[in-house]
């Protein structure tokens, strides 16, 4: 299982990327970091000439790729903050896609949202029954749910979609009967499209910022907006309300919560069901993009969501960062193979920074290692024009892995995460 060890006394980390750059600073520094990253990336863009790095097109793609991962991760957050490890996110997401497809073709997008969330929540309910009531090992139950969900989806399609006059088949649903509305920020990203004008100037920094903003504000689906809002909403719910405190207490010390009258089992049920619902919503998002349920549409995104959750140190902001980073790297590799090479330059610059930092701290070995890798990355950037498709395809995964292993590991999972709680058994 995911056992991340921390010695007592360390402050909880706010996510490896933040840690990597600031050693776990305050939220205030966030803007600085964001700015620094943009300056860096924009520098890389100017040097490499890869407009895709900061184009609004890449950004909206990154957002599109990040949202389902982020929703799955958010689902994981609820469940794991209540102490239930949820490796069944993928399965719940699959159920979500099916539910969305089924409701969507009959009653339109609103019903699809409800249907997907409901189906995902059913998966969550099953997980809760197995882990909370029956005390089954969380990982084991999650794996079983992943297997079961795939079977159930296929089975239901067979049942409802073969010979369905509305269309569809064993691997897909009929098309949704209505599409969700899409919004753009007036004036800036649509109509006069001021940001678009700025972006097209290709000015250093300004065009980059305009590109990023336009990508994040232009032609956005309602579910994207909902998903983005869910991040702060989850934070507020989990950290600013009594409900959230109780929920988290089940993940930290359920016995203590129980002794104070918190209904631990009920809390865990609620959390895991919410978890399933959110993962299901991730599935709905995928259905909205396709306009249809399609078998294997989730394509492992639930697992990536789990990774984003751990990456983000079990925090909403952190997991959003994780999902965002993954989405960006993925968007880049889908957009342009040569842009991925430009990433090497970025890596080189970052590693060079690490090398300098480490030598200041007189950690010679680390400094030399970082320096060597920086040099290697730079050489790669200079020599390679385009990476072969197989290699490019795992850019986001490699990026995630690299950032995780570079960042100092001060991740802290909820203390009772993954432990089966039985009342009266300490």
């Amino acid at each position: 299982m995911s056992t991340v060890v921390t010695s007592p006394g360390t402050r909880p980390s706010r996510g490896p990327l933040t840690d990597l750059l600031t050693g776990g600073g305050k939220g205030r520094r966030f803007l600085w970091i964001a700015l620094a990253v943009i300056v860096l990336v924009s520098l890389v863009r100017v040097i490499s000439g890869e407009e895709a790095l900061t184009s609004s097109s890449t950004m909206s793609a990154a957002l599109l790729l990040a949202v389902p991962i982020g929703l799955a991760a958010l689902g994981g957050l609820f469940s794991e903050r209540a102490g239930v490890v949820n490796i069944g996110l993928e399965g719940m997401m699959i159920l979500g896609t099916w539910g969305a497809g089924y409701a969507g073709y009959q009653w339109g997008w609103g019903a699809a949202l409800v249907g997907g969330v409901l189906f995902g929540a059913l998966g969550g309910l099953l997980h809760a029954i197995a882990t909370v009531t029956f005390g089954v090992d969380h990982v084991v139950s999650g794996v079983a749910i992943n297997i079961l969900a795939a079977g159930v989806a296929r089975f239901l399609s067979e049942l409802f979609y073969t010979d369905n006059p509305a269309g569809g088949g064993v691997t897909q649903s009929p098309a949704m009967s209505s599409d969700p509305p899409r919004l753009s920020l007036p004036v800036l990203s649509s109509g006069p499209d001021l940001l678009g004008d700025l972006e097209r100037q290709h000015w250093f920094l300004i065009s980059d910022i305009a590109g990023v903003l336009r990508g994040l504000t232009g032609d956005i689906g309602v579910l994207t907006i909902l998903a983005v809002l869910l991040i702060p909403a989850s934070y507020l719910l989990l950290w600013r309300t009594a409900f959230g405190l109780r929920l988290r207490s089940c993940g930290e010390n359920p016995a203590a919560a129980d002794s104070l009258g918190v209904a631990v089992y009920r809390m865990k049920y609620i959390a895991v069901i919410i978890s399933g619902g959110l993962a299901g919503m991730g599935g709905v998002f995928l259905v909205f993009i396709a306009g249809i349920y399609r078998e294997n549409q989730t394509n492992g995104r639930g697992f990536i969501g789990l990774a984003a959750l751990i990456f983000g140190n079990w925090r909403p902001g952190g997991l959003a960062t994780g999902a965002g980073l993954f989405g960006f790297a993925d968007a880049l590799q889908l957009r342009s193979r040569s842009a991925v090479v430009a990433l090497l330059l970025l890596v080189a610059v970052l590693l060079a920074g690490v090398a300098v930092w480490q030598s200041v701290r007189r950690r010679l070995l680390q400094a030399i290692l970082a320096g060597a890798f920086a040099a290697a990355a730079l050489t790669g950037f200079v020599l390679i024009d385009e990476l072969p498709p197989g290699i490019v395809s795992f850019t986001p995964h490699l990026t995630t892995l690299l950032v995780l292993s570079l960042a100092s590991q001060r991740l802290r999972m909820p203390q009772a995460d993954g432990l089966v709680y039985r009342r009266g058994e300490h």
Binding site: S7, R240, T241, L245, S249, A257, S259, L260
Partner: protein, 537 residues
């Protein structure tokens, strides 16, 4: 202070005459699978008094209190509060009725702040929001009123034991409890913290609160209690008046026999050192010294006791000696004379860089502080537990293989010799009571005849009978020339067993004392830093 509660002000206003008790338990019976933890218990507690409950390990005290607190329902019997019968379905109901409980094992979420821990379950809210400002205000108020000295925004994991206990008390007071249950509150406290706690309790009873508290320390009980109920094997054997009952009498009521004493017989200390520590330093991740420049020698046949308030580096010191924690500086030397493949190694050997396994092979035995964490595999049978820590040593190991038969046989031997009560070597360890588990551990560690035994709280949580047995075993081993490093929170045990006493404070050894002359009170003084080594000299 030892006088009847509330003497100063006369009977508290809420107290009623006759049979209207603040708490009354009638005929409580509680069964667990295979055990009757409580049988036909009778308990009456007056408003405003400090009522002590004493009894052996496993007598059923905690079970009874958990019943009262709604953590489980009694199979038979009635609970009356102020003369009215109540039925609690959960702790929430009990809290509602004004009962609060501080558990034997702290019930705190380390990763939460004091505030979060305190308000959990009864949060002040403003709309849907958790009203932190209000919570902070109320906690400060309670903290000041009862001198609990708590910072609401501190993370609990940064607190020491005493402070954690005060958080637990604050939790209860925050909920406006009028009946306070404290399950072995003093077990982890040093004398002066105990005094502070009793001060707090006096404060509470003055305000009209009722306190029920459990303790194994009978003199303490006599000091603060207004009434005592004795429980034995799950049932009440009677009540006692603390003013008229002696410790001896109380003990006899509890166990039906005399209190054992850890008194050491004549000195068996020999010349050759078996363990030498030099400048041992362990740092936390942030670089704080947890163990600070510790130098120490344990000789053959000697028991060196380490006294100290929990959290002053004892655990880290033990880990460092066992090789479970990296050293920042210093050296560990061990005399591995009796082990090795035939050839005996003369004198001390530097084992600083050795792995835990190599250390154990070289003759280091280990009775860990937390047996469930480090000493035993609850879900494994006894014979597999026999192998734990001795995987590479006979009789369990045969080359790279495990000799199951020999391990089983040797387990039977240990069970015989050390009076481990269990059906057989295939019983799961979880089925044993704490005391029997501990005896198995002691037996196991003894059977490889280590040169040095680290005994961390060897009798913690075991009842008097098993405690006596373990003390005997340690004394015998010492007589045979084993060096023992004893870490304990039980000052009587430390004084009684040790040949030399070291006091550990904030990671340093601050005083060396002679157990023959030191009193528990003095020792407590050194442990808290109230007295310094200069004063001892």
């Amino acid at each position: 202070m030892a006088a009847t509660g509330g003497t100063g002000d006369g009977p508290p206003p809420g107290a009623r005459s006759g049979d209207a008790y603040a708490v009354e338990l009638r005929g409580i019976t509680k069964r667990f699978p295979g055990v009757v933890a409580n049988r036909d218990i009778e308990l009456r507690v007056r408003r405003g008094e400090v009522h002590a409950i004493v009894g052996e390990n496993g007598a059923g005290k905690s079970t009874l209190m958990k019943t009262l607190y709604g953590m489980h329902r009694p199979d038979e019997g009635k609970i009356l509060l102020d003369g009215r019968e109540v039925h609690f379905k959960s702790p929430a109901d009990a809290i509602e009725a004004g009962i609060g409980m501080v558990h034997q094992h702290f019930m705190l979420a380390d990763n939460f702040t004091v505030l979060e821990n305190v308000v959990l379950g009864s949060e002040p809210t403003k709309g849907v929001r958790l009203d932190r400002a209000e919570a902070r205000r109320r906690i400060r108020e309670i903290s000041e009123r009862y001198s609990l000295d708590l910072d609401p925004d501190e993370l609990v994991e940064n607190l020491g034991v005493g402070a954690r206990q005060r958080v637990e008390i604050a939790k209860v007071l925050y909920r406006g409890a009028t009946v306070l249950i404290l399950d072995e509150p003093t077990a982890v406290l040093v004398p002066h913290e105990v005094d502070e706690l009793f001060g707090n309790l006096a404060e509470l009873t003055r305000e009209g609160l009722t306190v029920m508290f459990i303790s194994h320390k009978l003199d303490e009980v006599r000091r603060v209690a207004d009434a005592i109920t004795v429980i034995r094997r799950g049932t009440t054997v009677g009540t006692a008046d603390p003013r008229t009952t002696t410790v001896k009498e109380l003990a006899e009521m509890m166990v039906g026999s005399e209190l054992p004493s850890p008194e050491t017989r004549s000195s068996t200390v020999r010349d050759e050192p078996v363990l030498v520590l030099r400048g041992l330093t362990v740092r936390s991740r942030e670089g704080r010294a947890l163990v600070d420049d510790v130098g120490l020698t344990v000789r053959a046949g000697e028991v060196v006791g380490i006294a100290g308030v929990e959290g002053n580096g004892q655990a880290e010191l033990v880990d460092a000696i066992m090789g479970l924690r990296p050293l920042a500086a210093g050296q560990v030397q061990l005399d591995g004379g009796t082990t090795g493949d035939g050839g005996d190694v003369a004198g001390l050997e530097d084992i600083t860089g050795w792995s835990t396994r190599a250390r154990r092979e070289a003759g280091l035995g280990f009775i860990p502080e937390d047996r469930h964490r480090q000493g035993i595999l609850l879900d494994a049978p006894l014979w597999e537990n026999r192998i734990l820590g001795h995987q590479t040593l006979p009789p369990a190991a045969k080359g790279q293989f495990i000799d199951r038969k020999a391990a089983r046989a040797d387990t039977e031997r240990i069970m015989q010799e050390y009076d481990v009560r269990a059906p057989g070597p295939d019983t799961l360890a979880v089925a044993l009571s704490g005391g029997n588990q501990q005896k198995l551990i002691v037996g196991r560690e003894m059977s490889s005849s280590p040169r040095l035994l680290i005994a961390a709280h060897p009798t913690r949580g075991v009842d008097v009978g098993a405690q006596a047995a373990i003390w005997e075993l340690l004394k015998d081993a010492r007589a045979e020339g084993m060096g023992i490093l004893l870490i304990s929170a039980d000052l009587d045990e430390l004084i009684g067993l040790s040949d030399t006493l070291q006091v550990m404070l904030r990671g340093r050894l601050v005083a060396t004392l002679d157990p023959a002359t030191v009193t528990p009170e003095d020792l407590g003084g050194y442990m808290t830093g109230a007295r310094s080594a200069a004063g001892a000299a």
